[in-house]
C-alpha cells in the first residue's frame, strides 16, 4: 500500500506563493472577506510562513562583507516555510474528532469529510501545525468567479472544518485510470496542485514506501527534517535544508514567529 508524502526543499523555496494560489484555485478555497481576514479567519490550505533570522553566519552588523559577491550580509534574513497539512502518521486531529469526520486513509492521507463535520473545532485546537480552518461564513463566488469553481472538489458550507487533502480528487482519478489499465499508479500521474505549480521545483511528491520514487530517497536524506518532531506526530511532509538555518532560526526566531508556527 502506498504512503503518499511530500518533501519541500527550503533552500529552493523563494517564497513566491505560487503554491498558495494553485491550492486556492484547485480546491475552491473560499474567500473570507475583509472583516474575517482581520479577525484571522482567512483560510489557507497551504500557507507560506516567513521566518526572520536576525543575523546570518558570523557576520556582525556594521562590518563590511568578507568577500564581495557572497551572501553574507549584515541585516536580518528571511526564510520561507511552506506549510501544507503535514498528514501525520499519528494525527492528533483524527484522535479527537467525535464524529469521525476526519480519518487517516489507508494510503496515508488525513481526510476531512465536510458533509460529516459538525463544526466542533476540536481538531483545529488539537492540530499542532494549525493546518485546519473553520468556515466562518457561507461561501459566495461573485460574478464570473462561479465559473472558475473546480467541479471535482466540493464547496464547503458554513460551519465546517476544511484542510489540505493532498488533492485527493486527483488520486481518485489516477487510481481509476491505473485500475482500468491494470497497473500501478505512476510517479508523475498523481501530484497535488502545489507540487505541480512550484516554479522552483522545491516540492517533490510521491510514495514514501516505494524506493523508486524520488520522495522516498529525499525523505531519508541527512538534510531532511520534520516540523515539531518531538511531538510524535510523525509528519509525512518533510523539509530539506542545507545550511544551519534551522538551528539558527531556533535561536534567533523571536516569540512571535514561533507563535505563528505553533498556532
Amino acid at each position: 500500500m502506498q504512503k503518499w508524502g511530500m518533501v519541500i526543499d527550503l533552500d529552493r523555496c523563494a517564497g513566491c506563493q505560487t503554491c498558495t494560489v494553485a491550492c486556492r484555485t484547485e480546491n475552491n478555497v473560499p474567500f473570507c472577506g475583509d472583516g474575517n481576514a482581520w479577525k484571522g479567519r482567512a483560510i489557507f490550505w497551504n500557507k507560506v510562513i516567513t521566518v526572520r533570522i536576525e543575523s546570518h553566519g558570523s557576520q556582525r552588523e556594521g562590518e563590511p562583507s568578507a568577500s564581495p559577491g557572497t551572501n553574507n550580509h549584515a541585516g536580518p534574513r528571511l526564510r520561507f516555510l511552506p506549510m501544507p497539512c503535514m498528514h501525520c502518521e499519528r494525527p492528533p486531529c483524527v484522535l479527537v474528532c467525535p464524529v469521525r469526520a476526519t480519518t487517516k486513509s489507508v494510503d496515508g492521507i488525513v481526510m476531512q469529510v465536510p458533509s460529516r463535520c459538525i463544526g466542533c473545532r476540536l481538531c483545529q485546537a488539537s492540530c499542532p501545525y494549525s493546518r485546519r480552518y473553520f468556515n466562518w461564513q457561507e461561501v459566495d463566488y461573485p460574478g464570473t468567479l462561479k465559473e472558475a469553481v473546480n467541479p471535482d472538489v466540493s464547496i464547503r458550507t458554513l460551519g465546517v472544518i476544511e484542510k489540505c487533502t493532498l488533492c485527493v480528487h486527483r488520486l481518485q482519478k489516477a487510481r481509476e485510470q491505473a485500475r482500468d489499465e491494470n497497473r500501478e499508479i505512476r510517479e508523475d500521474e498523481y501530484v497535488p496542485a502545489c507540487v505541480e505549480a512550484c516554479p522552483a521545483k522545491a516540492r517533490t511528491f510521491g510514495d514514501l514506501n516505494n524506493p523508486d520514487h524520488a520522495v522516498a530517497k529525499l525523505a531519508r536524506s541527512p538534510r531532511a527534517f520534520r516540523l515539531l518532531e518531538e511531538l510524535g506526530t510523525f509528519p509525512q511532509v518533510s523539509y530539506l535544508h542545507e545550511s544551519t538555518w534551522k538551528s539558527e532560526s531556533r535561536k534567533s526566531v523571536g516569540a512571535e514567529d514561533e507563535e505563528e508556527i505553533d498556532g
Binding site: 469529510v113 458533509s115 466540493s154 485527493v168 481518485q172
Partner: protein
Amino acid sequence: MMRRKILWVCWCGIIGAMGVPCRGAGTAQPIPFNHKIHTVDNEFPCDTCHRYVFEKPFAGLPPTDLCIQCHEDDITTNPAAAPHIQTIRRHAKEGTEIPWVRLYVLPKTVYYSHRRHAKIAGLECSVCHGDIGRSETPPARPIARTLDMDHCIKCHVERKAEYDCSRCHR
C-alpha cells in the same frame, strides 16, 4: 368547531403543497420515455444511449442527435408515441437538447464513477438502478433518496470492496 375546520384546511394545504413538487420531480421528463421497448424488445444495451457509462464518471443522458439517428424514419408503430416523436424532431430541427431530468443525483461531496463500477468492477446497472431499465414509464415518485451512503457501504462490505473515506469523498 370552526377553528378545528380551519386547522384541518390548513393541514390539508400544507400536505398538498409538500406533495405536489415531490410528485412532479419524478414525472417531469419532457418525454415519457419507455425503457422497455428499447432495452427488452429491441435489446439495446444501456451504453447505446448512456454513452459514457464505461468511459467516464458520469453515464450521460442521450443527446438529440442520438435519438434522431433512429427516429428520423417512422419506425414506431405505436400511435401514442407519435406526439413524442414529433417533440424529438422539433428539438433536432431547432438544434436544441431534450431537457431530460436527472433522476439520480448524488451529493457534491461524493465522487462516484460509472467507469469504476460498470467497467472495472463489472457490476450490472440494476445493482443501483433497479428495474428502471425495464420500466415502461418514468417513475411516479422521485427516487433521489434510494441511493444513500448506507446503500454504498452495504454493497462495498458484501463484495469486500474498499470503503475508505478518501476513495469517494472529496
